[in-house]
Amino acid sequence: MINFWIWIGVALTLATWSYLWKDSPAFRWAETTYIAAAVGHSFIVGLYTLRDRYYPIMHGKPLLIIPAILGYFYLFILWRRGRWVASYPIAIGMGVGLATQMSGTIASDFIGQTLGLISEGGRIIGATPVTAFTNALTIVMTLCSLSYFIFTVKPRGVYGIVYKLGQYCLMAALGAMAGNYILGTGLSITLATIRRITFGLQGYG
């Protein structure tokens, strides 16, 4: 029995990788299988979650009936004249989500990162030459990069030089992140995919 499943896995893997040669019915089979499986799985998880979420309606929290109904308003999108009804659930999702994101972003990104930048200034005087240089470099590079994002000032004169430097700093940062990423996740997963098949064929897993 276990081998039957393994062979399905082998077929799906080969079909997916056939995309590298060209788009073929085999890839389309793997693609639609994956999409259907993902939709089915998330639907099952969703059903179980809904069961747990609907439970309090009958047990002490009758107000939850409002979002329970509002959720189904999404389906009005499919009806041309009643499409506007769907903006009610969207409004709730947007309101809660955007407010959470706004307060969180100000705290962590605006205040937190600025504080990080400033506190690096405290590690220059009295530190070892290497640390002092590192921190000074980081501060200068951050400020230069930041100037790239000012839109309403024409890059001329001294500001023009800072702006140009900022571009190079951003390129260096993006390059370093890309280089760090190339040897990251992808390769180990490709290997694991093959490994799991060979492993399964040996009778494990």
Partner: protein, 281 residues
């Protein structure tokens, strides 16, 4: 004339269809599986600390494997996790699996099978898998730390926890000696809701998250992390052979793959410079 020919060759090379590059890549990936090179690599300080911590756990300790969010099937971290299972499998260490995401219900039993853990250990006595409890980790984790039986009531297969011998001496955070997390995105909630109870945490995390999580270690909230698949390979080397052995294979492939990419980029740059001189680009 000769220069023109070389320019044509170079421009052909630069326009090479990616399919050929991908074919060579596939060969380079499969080759080390068949002919393992076992290229040398050094063992990082953090992996060594993880290994020694687990090695020094007293007999009869209780380990909780909690976390493993929806990234659980990212195999980058599972090499280290399986090596960890191999390390504890021949010792009297109890394992409680507490999934924080529905997908880890699929991952953890699989990892247990691959490590051969279930063949050595007895279910219910030495290890147990609990059910996934919806509601978000900000509710379930504090409840779990306070009262395990009160939160979970049954295991994954519906057996009441009181009937399982493993829970005779395990009630709350005081009985947990180590918390391991295979995955990445659950670390934020672990730091917030598990670390305050002074339970040591070890994380098998992605290399992308490894630098991001260093502040947690510095603050003493987490004991140690392993760094992605590289950490997995180092762990495997420390534990010895594991049946899965993904990390070691990956290190070989890393060598070939990185040299290959380096050669490609050097070729591409030589070509670009030659064509630039010829005025083609």
């Amino acid at each position: 004339m000769k220069e023109e020919v070389s320019e044509i060759t170079w421009s052909k090379l630069l326009e090479l269809r990616p399919e050929w590059l991908w074919l060579i890549t596939l060969i380079l990936i499969i080759a080390p599986m068949i002919f393992p090179i076992h290229a040398p690599f050094r063992i990082n300080e953090s992996t060594l600390r993880v290994y020694e911590f687990v090695e020094n756990l007293p007999e009869g300790s209780v380990v909780v494997s909690g976390g493993a969010g929806n990234y659980a099937f990212m195999y980058e971290t599972s090499a280290a996790f399986i090596a960890f299972l191999n390390q504890i499998k021949n010792r009297d260490i109890k394992l409680i699996i507490f999934p924080l995401h529905p997908d880890s219900l699929m991952f953890e039993p699989w990892a247990i099978r691959v490590a051969g853990f279930d063949k050595v250990k007895e279910y219910g006595k030495d290890w147990v898998i609990l059910n996934y409890i919806p509601g978000g980790s900000y509710i379930t984790l504090p409840a779990f730390m306070q009262d395990i039986k009160g939160l979970c009531r049954t295991d994954l297969y519906g057996t009441p926890l009181d009937e399982l011998p493993i829970f005779n001496n395990v009630d709350n955070y005081e009985d947990i000696d180590l918390w391991v997390d295979c995955g990445a995105n659950s670390m934020w909630s672990l730091v917030r809701y598990v670390a305050p109870y002074h339970v040591p945490i070890i994380g098998f995390v992605h290399s992308a998250y490894y630098p991001m999580f260093q502040p947690f270690k510095a603050a003493g909230l987490v004991y140690e992390f392993t760094n992605g698949i590289r950490g997995g390979a180092e762990y495997e080397k420390l534990v010895g052979y594991t049946p899965w052995n993904l990390g070691t294979i990956t290190m070989d492939a890393y060598n070939l793959y990185s040299i290959y990419v380096l050669i490609l980029v050097i070729l591409a740059n030589i070509g670009t410079q030659i064509l630039k001189k010829g005025g083609c680009v």
